[in-house]
Symmetry: none
Subunit: 194 residues, 4 copies
DNA sequence: CATGAATGAGTCTTCATTCAT
DNA sequence: TATGAATGAAGACTCATTCAT
């Protein structure tokens, strides 16, 4: 039943979607939709939740903690793009929709916070292995940027059905790792003197 | 009058905004809003357009072509984050809103295409200077990732009024340049053999 | 089971009450409610009926015919206010609800007619004892007024949990009897000449 | 426009009435109804208010304070029944409807409180003229009973289009005044010793 | 016998959009 | 030109009522 909702939301957007259509597509009557999942808002949150959970599981299952940092990142990215590629419909739109409505900000923020946290952990771990240490906030911003870049490519992927998820993951890995790799080695960039 | 619209759209989102409120905030009557800017959709596009133009101008004005690649990127980023910091209200929300509605996809795609194109040019130019060459598509994806990361941090900045735009720009530069720098030197990453 | 219904109706009103709540409060399933008592309307009528019957019985049991008129009235009133005081919840609301819906008008009219008839009989009996006689319609209107006043005080009592039913009965008796008493003695009032 | 609403509410009751019908009967479109009078609830309150005001004015205009108590009462009653007779449709139903819904209790209570207050004042004035004095609460209850009886006859009148308002007023006056008259003279009734 | 599950029908309410002034 | 007034259309949500189990 959530499948139907996800499809409808992804086709017409949160506001464009009508509960009538959700019900119809799900093959049940409107009151049932309300009985099972409550309000339109709650329904959307449920969708968001399920997709987020699935995605997180896909990633977590791939990026197991005992791999070296680069491989872990790589597997994580591959899982992510693989997921988006397979759920083009669902993910990108839920993501875009969720960003637009204040009401879902929390849900979304939580979801992203979990990912950022993982990435921060990954970076921190790798840094310590190099005998270096960086303030948490710094790492967070870097992680945020990486996640953002990844989401962005995910969005791009969702819009390009012909694109290959694996290849996209490789490209992202290049950008992310070579950048992160340099940072890990203590190379940093500074604004030029004025 | 667009100012009023931007404010209203940014407060309540595209759908949450009512033409009544736009008119009231603009101090004119609703039929005038329609006379001057047409449909709600057109109005929103007009807002989007203006903000995009302003932003592009701010960036273009800072990232002049005759600077070396890294400085050019740096000034561009600084201009971008400066703009977002100064228009927190407007930018992030217009951006988020625009992503949510299919109707604005084109507008948005165009706006982003222009930026990606610039970044691609920048990378290409720098590569040639190094005597190297890379397929356009490859560059595009990298550029896309960089732009995505930047937008993402822009979003983050818009949500953190206390954050410093300049510092954010520096962080982004680190992620972007050190990664891009490596790429420019021909270093690339490959998926591990299975 | 009716108890549950009465409670629900009295809390939320006829329209505000949902069959779901009735069923839940009664501890049975909705189809059973329908099986035993039919439609919501019929259910309400059943409630009305039971409450009316109980009340009539309480009054009839107290106002036995072989008492002198004033004592009979007094005992009737006392029984009435006693009943309302003890069933504050049920009575007043059923009464108010029933008045609002055309569908229950008949039921209610019947119930009141029975009381009015009793009062008319009482007055008539007393009048005849005084050797006087008055047109039936006249008596009916007087009876109607008395009943109305009584119902009204009943309502008031239902809204004032701290008030004493017995005292209220006494007050009503004062109004009713002194008025009725005068009438019984042939004293009547006429509109002033213009 | 309120006329239309009153008519619809009186025909179908508060719940049975649909805003569609109100709009249609008023000859305007639904959004206009909402623009002018807001919510269904507010609309009903507006009706209630207007009818109450009109009625109070009718009564106040007739029962001028400088008349002797009985004449004042008489004129008040006549005005009341005259009003109800002329607005059968409106009054009775508004009154019945208003009683049924908790939401209107306040409005109604206020309206009745004003009347009771007037009657209390009238009784008090008359009592003092007789050199007697009675606790306010006592008077209030008596007044309440009188008002209730009157409302009740009003209801009866509303249901009997063929009945004569003037005659009804006379009857009510008989009940009210002879009763009140006795009370004024200090005659009271006491429960029999057990 | 009892019920969980299902629904058709209908309500209030809102808003983008446009005449007539 | 500018607007106050008006509306068609649509959507979320609820509930009395009934099968199939």
């Amino acid at each position: 039943m959530l499948d139907a909702a996800v499809r409808v939301f992804s086709r017409h957007g949160y506001h464009g979607a009508s509960m009538d259509e959700v019900a119809e597509r799900a093959g049940i009557s409107k009151p049932m939709v309300y009985a099972y999942l409550g309000t339109k808002e709650e329904l959307f949150i449920a969708c968001l939740h399920r997709e987020a959970t699935r995605m997180m599981e896909a990633i977590a299952g791939a990026a197991v903690p005992d791999l070296p940092a680069d491989e872990r990142l790589w597997h994580g990215l591959r899982a992510f793009f693989g997921f988006v590629g397979a759920h083009r419909d669902g993910w990108a739109v839920l993501y875009r929709q969720a960003r637009a409505e204040r009401a879902f900000a929390d849900e979304l923020a939580g979801m992203r916070a979990r990912i950022v946290e993982v990435v921060v952990g990954m970076l921190d771990h790798a840094l310590r292995a190099e005998g270096r240490e960086v303030a948490e906030t710094e790492l967070e911003v870097v992680a945020y940027a990486l996640v953002g870049a990844t989401e962005s490519l995910g969005d791009w992927l969702a819009d390009h059905p012909e694109a290959d998820p694996e290849k996209t993951a490789t490209r992202m890995m290049n950008v992310a790792w070579l950048g992160a790799g340099q940072l890990l080695h203590g190379v940093t960039w500074h604004p030029p003197e004025r």
